[in-house]
């Protein structure tokens, strides 16, 4: 067994990090290759051994008094005055934040709509309407649903296998969305036929977003993978042949 990719897949399977489609593929792989199956069993045995060994680990009862003493040395007490002043300051900040929320233009609402479409798809039984790793299936399917559909780029070599496509409705408009996988995570790539205003890089509720315009389309990639990886993804989509 010389293929590290397969080993990673088995490990990721044992760690429950694969999406259902890939999990099934790994199960098949393990049925065919006893060594992979054996690695999986070994991982579970190792896990049990480690958790059993750690089960008895508890800090001594002295740890909390120790922490309290240590904190007491750096922050002896907070005076009522300090607390009062601080709460006044927070009041000011809250007021400032509210003002800001009221006066910023509509792009945060759009960003939230995009993230909630992505989140809804994560909660759904199937994050996609058409499941296929073949871009020649996804592209025509999307073309039938939305007036202007994007090219579907194959990024499997860069670690973003194609999972499928769906149509989201954002701000009353149907939007073609291509879904890619990345480890256990999903990346939704939405394409807007009209110009929309979003920052190039932003994040909402822990989800990162990248937005760029190419030709007539505005692209928004959204995922919970770190921004650095989303940047790789963006780069792959923008420069498919490099």
């Amino acid at each position: 067994m010389k293929n590290p990719e397969q080993i990673y897949e088995v490990d990721a399977y044992a760690d429950n990090e694969l999406d259902p489609v890939r999990a099934i593929a790994v199960e098949k792989l393990m049925a065919e290759q006893p060594e992979l199956r054996q690695r999986y069993d070994s991982i579970l045995n190792l896990r049990r051994a480690l958790r059993e060994a750690a089960a008895q680990d508890r800090p001594s009862d002295l740890i909390q008094p120790r922490i309290n003493r240590a904190l007491g040395r750096v922050a002896p007490f907070v005076t009522r005055w300090a607390a009062l002043a601080a709460s006044f300051l927070v009041g000011l900040l809250v007021a400032a934040a509210l003002t800001w929320v009221v006066f910023v233009p509509r792009s945060p609402a759009l960003a939230e709509a995009i993230v909630s479409a992505h989140m809804r798809s994560l909660l759904a039984e199937q994050p996609i309407d058409v499941a296929s790793s073949d871009r020649h299936t996804v592209k025509p399917w999307l073309a039938r649903k939305v007036p202007q559909s994007p090219d579907v780029v194959d990024l499997s070599q860069s670690g973003f296998p194609l999972i499928g496509g769906r149509v989201d409705v954002i701000d009353g408009e149907p939007v073609a969305t291509i879904v890619y996988g990345h480890a256990k995570h999903l990346v939704s790539l939405m394409t807007f036929a009209k110009r929309i205003k979003l920052p190039a890089v932003s994040s909402v509720a822990g989800f990162h977003m990248r937005s760029w315009t190419q030709g007539d389309l505005t692209y928004v990639a959204v995922s919970d993978i770190p921004d650095s990886e989303l940047a790789m993804f963006e780069n792959g989509i923008r420069h498919p042949n490099s």
């Binding site: 069993d41 922490i67 256990k184 990886e229």
Partner: protein
């Protein structure tokens, strides 16, 4: 308006047990673990206002992990791999490739707690921390990547490699 102390009690203390366990397995010693947790609690307290509140556990474990690494560099240089740049930096010189000569899969015989601890102790620090975060703290790859400050791909390769190394130490084919 909560005092820093109250905020600390709310953010840090609920994760004390997990914090201790992480320190315990990273340092390999129950006594050192308490030192690390105490130091981490001070660090956490000083920056308690930076904790956004969305993921307090991740925030706490990141501090504990960084404190443990600083502690290891300072007190136990032998446990840190050569070429490690800074305590909480993740630049390392260790071969990241999965060593395909180690047996990939051997069933573990029943190992004693001591044997398990020694085997984990013997791992190079970057591998030790990912296996501890995954199997003992039960975090997923994303959380591990955030806490250890490494890309997802590195989490996967280190985890696989750590497992292969542990199979080699602990495993005998039965």
């Amino acid at each position: 308006m909560e005092s820093d102390r109250a905020l600390f009690a709310k953010v840090f203390l609920p994760h004390l047990q997990q914090a201790y366990r992480l320190a315990r397995w990273m340092t390999g010693s129950a006594v050192d673990a308490e030192d690390v947790v105490q130091e981490a609690s001070l660090r956490a307290f000083r920056s308690i206002r930076d904790c956004s509140g969305s993921n307090p556990r991740g925030w706490v474990l990141t501090i504990v992990r960084n404190t443990a690494n600083t502690w290891l560099t300072r007190n136990r240089a032998d446990r840190m791999p050569p070429g490690r740049s800074e305590a909480d930096g993740s630049i390392i010189d260790v071969n990241e490739n999965v060593d395909l000569d180690t047996p990939e899969a051997v069933l573990l015989r029943k190992a004693t707690v001591d044997e398990v601890r020694r085997a984990v102790d013997a791992l190079p620090a970057p591998f030790r921390e990912v296996i501890v975060l995954r199997e003992i703290e039960e975090l997923d790859y994303r959380e591990i990547a955030d806490i250890a400050g490494i890309p997802l791909g590195t989490v996967m390769s280190r985890l696989s490699r750590a497992r292969s190394m542990l199979f080699k130490t602990l495993g005998e084919i039965r």
